[in-house]
Symmetry: C2
Subunit: 413 residues, 2 copies
């Protein structure tokens, strides 16, 4: 289907969905969850096509794994959709209300954004996650996944569309762009007439391409070059545990630690303790000169290493002379995702919290907590690293806009 | 100065400003207000250069008027800056706080956006307004005005920079791009490294160019093709007063009414009553066939007229068969600014409020109230017509972002 026709249908469907109550939206979510369970076989057989194609093309095993669905993963998808039924409806909340001196009653209420386009890469579970979050928040969604998962995505999207229609909503509240060429992505980025917001979910390359090319407003998610700074006044055992957890508990995610900064006064003790822990998982340390002098196993870091999101068992490391240098380093190399100081010093903690500019700034805790579930907000569509509209976990409430309602009795100005 | 150097200096200054307390920011605002008063002569003589140039180039008198400063207008600028001293500081507010089951204390606090670039057109008072709002909200500002007002803008910006420095803040928290070529605007739109948000203030052409070309996140302000819909159940006298006020109290602004929709059941009475009023100001009515049949003075409207922001004593008008057709018309031609229904019917009012998608939706009041001051929010930098981040009056609180602060005691995940 021509992508503009798809856009226009999504826009019409969005207007119907915006008027649907929670009951009806929840009924559609239940129907989607049920349909995903019941059509597990169909999804698996479509997924097998993707896997066969991937293997034939020589895709790396880790990538094949991300692409692979099984009964458990499909159940997980369905369960994720069902959990949203219990979530509070983010639409129709009165955020503010006042009566003006002239008698005008002003209220600010939450409304859906309209049509959200999500451009994502290999993981087919994003299809269901994103569609369910958009549906709950009253938004039509246009999904544009990668070519690797296209068979799975088509199967999942069709099942969801059928379920939505059964529940009495237009099926076009969920649509999938089946053309996975770059052209379709570019077209989406410029369909301001039909698309209200675009959310890229994927690697740095995808996000850069979207920011560069989109005329539709974007919510950037993702890249996390997260630092842990071990202050002079740190509890060294705690620091080693935090770095170990932040680096190795799941290295492929955006809230993983990628870079370590250590105050020179405790550099030797701290680096040795951290290195002991990291060795358990064979983490490669790429250090500056001072780090390499302390840790003979460390590899010399290039300037580029400090700017990299490794997403792997690799960490860059640098010794700094003071907290200001640490903050300066983070300002230069950080991506504004999650940054941590380990310290027992009140003033150092306050300074770091005040001066580091990122979505999440931690004292004495692993950066791995930057997550909608861990923050207590429930499911999220990604972690926003931009400053407009949403910063941090992009949950249901951030998939809404606002509208002023003004009730008068003939007031003129 | 090279615009990238200017950007880099603004970014550094923004980091200093972000750490300044309200007291220091207010001292700078006081200093700016005082300096504007004291340098009235200097500003007037710079403004005279602009006016002389404009007249020599044959600029229309209305445009020359917008460009013209006098003692009263400069006092008004200074007074506007001073009023912000009393406004609440939008930075450092805790929006939310919770202790998670694992003991992590999470707080969401407001922080400045960073560097805001404002691209604006002829009116030199925007220079002081925008700079003061950005300063109060802890943001460095890069101002890029039009060439018509360049002498005035340079004078005002230099006076403000001097005042800011006197108050102990870096002068680069306010900077002006003196190059008024298109190149400088385009460069600003793509300086993601230094500019956090871009706000265009001006006509539809400027805003379109920014949306098309900017890779920096944009807050669109402005174009208002605002409708008044006179429902079947309207109080006709009230309707006529509201249309008259919304159209003629200040036709050149974005919250002025540009288009009238009338229910067919009362079309004749309503149109005659409205026309009586509008005649007082010689407003031209461009109507569809049904309108022209009732009002012999009306000019036949083209399709294009319904999409136009006249900003003049002209209004388009159409007879609709029902409220759904009115809502449909607004969805098609509206710009999402301010829309009004005049009705005594509860259900019609609710339906209009629910289904019309705009920053401000009115029942029985003039669209002219869409304004930061009228809404009780104080000064604003424009009216946002986009759905992300800010919708409606763009006041101090919308010039901030958020940051999550997480206080731990060694938590790992």
């Amino acid at each position: 289907m021509d992508i503009r026709i798809l856009g226009s249908r999504a826009k019409s469907a969005a207007r119907v969905l915006a008027r649907a109550g929670s009951t009806q939206k929840n009924r559609a979510l239940e129907a989607i969850a049920k349909a995903l369970y019941e059509n597990t076989e169909k999804i698996l057989s479509a997924n097998k096509e993707d896997i066969d194609r991937a293997k034939a093309a020589g895709m790396a095993p880790a990538m094949v794994d991300r692409l692979t669905l099984n009964e458990e993963r499909i159940n997980g998808m369905a369960e994720g959709v069902r959990q949203l039924v219990a979530a509070a409806d983010p639409v129709g909340r009165v955020l503010y209300g006042e009566t003006r001196p002239n008698g005008l009653k002003i209220r600010k209420v939450t409304v859906p954004l309209g049509v959200i386009a999500v451009i994502f890469e290999a993981r087919p579970n994003v299809t269901a996650d994103a569609a369910a979050l958009c549906l709950k928040s009253g938004n039509a969604v246009i999904l544009r996944g990668g070519k690797e998962a296209i068979s799975s995505n088509i199967a999942i999207a069709n099942i969801m569309r059928g379920a939505v229609a059964e529940a009495g909503l237009p099926e076009d509240v969920i649509s999938l762009v089946e053309d996975t060429s770059r052209d379709s992505a570019t077209a989406l980025m410029r369909m301001n007439e039909y698309v209200d917001v675009l959310i890229p979910r994927g690697g740095a390359g995808l996000i850069r391409a979207v920011v560069e090319n989109s005329t539709v407003p974007v919510i950037e998610t993702g890249t996390g070059n997260c630092h842990v700074y071990i202050d002079r006044a740190a509890d060294i055992d705690m620091a080693a545990e935090i770095v170990f957890n932040a680096k190795t508990s799941r290295p492929s995610v955006c809230n993983a630690c990628e870079s370590l900064l250590v105050h020179e006064d405790i550099a030797e003790l701290a680096l040795i303790a951290v290195n002991e822990k990291l060795k358990e998982k064979n983490v490669e340390i790429r250090g500056d000169e001072a780090v390499c002098a302390i840790l003979p196993d460390a590899v010399p870091a290039t300037e580029e290493d400090f700017g990299r999101e490794f997403l792997d068992y690799i960490i860059s490391a640098r010794v700094v002379s003071n907290i200001d240098q640490a903050i300066e380093h983070i300002a230069r190399f950080g991506t504004g995702h999650s940054e941590c100081i380990v310290t027992e010093d009140y003033n150092a903690a306050q300074k770091f919290l005040d001066e580091v500019d990122a979505a999440a700034v931690y004292v004495n805790a692993s950066t791995r907590f930057t997550d909608g579930g861990e923050f207590g907000f429930g499911a999220e569509i990604g972690i926003s690293t931009q400053k407009l509209h949403a910063r941090g976990p992009l949950g249901l409430d951030k998939l809404t806009s606002e509208k002023f309602i003004i009730l008068g009795s003939g007031q003129i100005r």
